[in-house]
């Protein structure tokens, strides 16, 4: 089922949580809404679900305008961050709930419901836990039950609100892989919200990066990482270093010196240079490069992060070096980013 969000705006009281957001989710796609808290990602998910009504704009499920429909009528599977399992019901009753509350004409027989619950428990790899109560399960198990419960109603769309947010890191990684497998097995159109970029990049077919109630960029993991289209995305996805620079004569300047990066086509004027700390080349001499004094050096897992003071300008950038690289011992390091991007000042102020 394809989902289309068309020019949706949402205000709480008069505070705008979403400004004119449009998004198309392809049928069968696994898509992540990624952003810091307050970016509107959960609001967008709840609007798709029908838990909130848009102030203006429309939401389509396939060709059908679902804007006026309630969550009951939309037939979506919604998984909450804190599971929201019914604590007085067994695992099997939780999973069967959506079938049990159907009107008599479409309600399966109770034996059928029980069988479906068992099948779904197999799917989420919790066979044999039918009779347990939610309080007797671990966090990861509860979230699996919550997903099985959402899948039981054969939803058109599966929506997950920070599904792994309340779990610890190891369980989260396991569940991530597992969710991907379930998605491939069932083929549901799936939208999930997360503030964890690793989760979004690893799991989703496409990532929707959001900030302050707007969509900044939509793309595959490669696209949003390699070609961020805004300073926000560059800063938010992956590590990045930035420096205030100036573009003049198709060259990038830091203070009074060109730094050996040519920027044809960029308008002249002040801007901000972004690059990835690990994506640099070290240079010996420096005529047309960035050079700085080592201010701090930290070992982080397999690499060494070196903080450099650039020029006399009190600007600090971070670069990443191999652990045993001799440059890490030096007091002065010269380098040039391999991949980089300059955003003109106007683009930054416009946000």
């Amino acid at each position: 089922m394809q989902v289309r969000v068309a020019n949706v705006r949402k205000e709480f009281d008069t505070f705008p949580a979403l400004h004119d957001v449009s998004l198309e989710v392809r049928s069968g796609e696994l898509i992540a809404l990624l952003g810091p808290s307050g970016s509107g990602k959960t609001t967008l998910l709840r609007l798709i679900a029908g838990l909130e009504q848009p102030t203006t704009g429309r939401i389509f499920f396939g060709e059908e305008d679902a804007s006026a429909k309630s969550i009951r009528e939309r037939n979506v599977g919604f998984v909450f961050q804190h599971y929201a399992l019914f604590r007085h019901m067994t695992v099997a009753d939780n999973i069967g709930f959506g079938l049990k509350v159907r009107p008599a004409q479409t309600r399966p027989a109770s034996a059928e419901i029980r069988k479906r619950a068992t099948d779904l428990l197999d799917l989420v790899q919790l066979s044999g836990l039918e009779k347990r109560y939610p309080a007797q399960l671990s966090g990861g198990q509860r979230q699996r039950v919550a997903l099985a419960r959402a899948l039981a109603i054969e939803p058109k769309v599966l929506l997950l609100d920070e599904p792994f947010g309340a779990l610890d890191a190891q369980v989260r990684r396991d569940l991530r892989r597992w969710l991907r497998e379930i998605h491939e097995a069932t083929g549901h159109t799936t939208v999930f919200v997360t503030h964890d970029q690793e989760e979004a990049l690893e799991l989703a077919d496409r990532v929707v990066v959001m900030s302050q109630g707007r969509i900044e960029q939509v793309g595959t993991a490669d696209e949003v990482y390699d070609t961020p289209n805004s300073p926000f995305v560059y800063g938010f996805i992956g590590d990045s270093s930035s420096l205030p620079v100036r573009v003049e004569d198709d060259q990038v300047w830091l203070g009074e010196r060109p730094i050996g990066l040519s920027a044809p086509g960029l308008p002249s004027g002040p801007g901000t240079l972004f690059f990835r700390p690990h994506d640099i080349e070290l240079l010996d001499g420096c005529s047309g490069c960035l050079a700085g004094t080592v201010a701090a050096s930290r070992r982080v897992a397999g690499t060494r992060r070196v903080e450099l003071e650039i020029g006399g300008q009190r600007e600090r950038v971070e670069i990443e070096l191999p652990v045993d690289h001799p440059a890490a011992q030096k007091s002065r390091v010269a380098f040039r980013p391999r991949k980089w991007k300059v955003f003109p000042q106007s683009a930054i102020q416009g946000k």
Binding site: I71, H82, A84, F86, G98, V101
Partner: protein, 292 residues
């Protein structure tokens, strides 16, 4: 990122640090027991002793008197009407306050407490002012032959007023703590409003609701002040058990008074026993519904 697991050395006696000196502990416990003994247990024992002073036969003949039986009947009738009504009002009120956002919510929450904060006598007087012969409604009611004051409807109204907060007060914090996520989940799974209430909300609050109803019932049967103002004290007609106790006592019929009083006290004890029994029987489940 989660912290790596740290195996810290646990002190062997973890309670040692917070436990009081022995004399302090004994003193506190003694104070608690002596207080409860003098102010609760002793009076209770005295009520039963006084009631059975002239023997079991006399006790039952005192209870079997016509006026006493009628007082018991009236008390039960009032409870049977007012408790279910307050159950419905209380749940509706708690639901509105806990699950919705609206203007005037804080004011409504304060109003719920009004019957607790106002003297019961005033609660009764309100109805006298509203329905009495001197009130605006009085003549109209009289001309239509509707009796409210000094009759059963007045007693029921006063009782409802006084016992209203019990159910709502018990449910509001419980429902607020539980939030609306479970309801949202139920609706997203296709449940309608009634199913959501019946299968999800009600089971989540059933123990709180039961406490509320037990307390509400105990108070409905025991209320004196408000009922006294509106009842008119007509023997055999508008006397409830607490009022009848006073009348018997004023008649120097101490045994009869204490016999009826022992019944009331017995009701309170049954209520308490029931509550403890339920807690013992379903303790684990109650703990589970109070959040996990």
């Amino acid at each position: 990122m989660a912290d790596p697991v740290v195996f810290a050395a646990q002190p062997a006696a973890s309670g040692a640090g917070i436990s009081e000196q022995r004399p302090a502990r004994w003193t506190l416990m003694a104070v608690a027991f002596i207080f409860l003994g003098v102010f609760l247990f002793l009076p209770l024992v005295l009520v039963f002793m006084e009631a059975f002073k002239k023997g079991v036969g006399f006790y039952f003949s005192a209870l079997g008197e016509r006026d006493t039986l009628s007082a018991i009947r009236l008390t039960l009738l009032v409870a049977v009407i007012s408790v279910p009504l307050n159950l419905v009002f209380g749940v509706a009120m708690a639901w509105a306050i806990a699950k919705y956002e609206f203007k005037g919510k804080a004011f409504l929450t304060t109003l719920v407490d009004l019957p607790f904060s106002v003297s019961p006598v005033i609660s009764g007087l309100v109805y006298v002012l509203l329905f009495g012969a001197q009130s605006a409604l009085g003549p109209w009611l009289k001309s239509h032959g509707i009796e409210i004051l000094f009759a059963v409807p007045g007693i029921v109204l006063a009782t409802i007023f006084v016992t209203f907060p019990f159910v709502a007060r018990e449910l509001i914090p419980l429902m607020e703590e539980q939030g609306t996520k479970d309801e949202e989940a139920a609706i997203s799974l296709g449940a309608n409003g009634w199913q959501t209430f019946w299968y999800v909300t009600l089971p989540n609050v059933k123990w709180g609701l039961l406490y509320g109803v037990l307390l509400c019932n105990a108070r409905a049967m025991g209320e004196f002040g408000a009922v006294s103002v509106v009842s008119g004290h007509i023997r055999g007609q508008t006397n409830t058990m607490p009022l009848h106790v006073e009348i018997l006592y004023n008649d120097y019929n101490a045994t009869g008074a204490f016999a009826v009083a022992s019944l009331l006290a017995g009701l309170a004890l049954v209520t308490l026993a029931l509550k403890s029994l339920l807690e013992m029987r379903y303790g684990a489940e109650i703990a589970a519904t109070r959040g996990h």
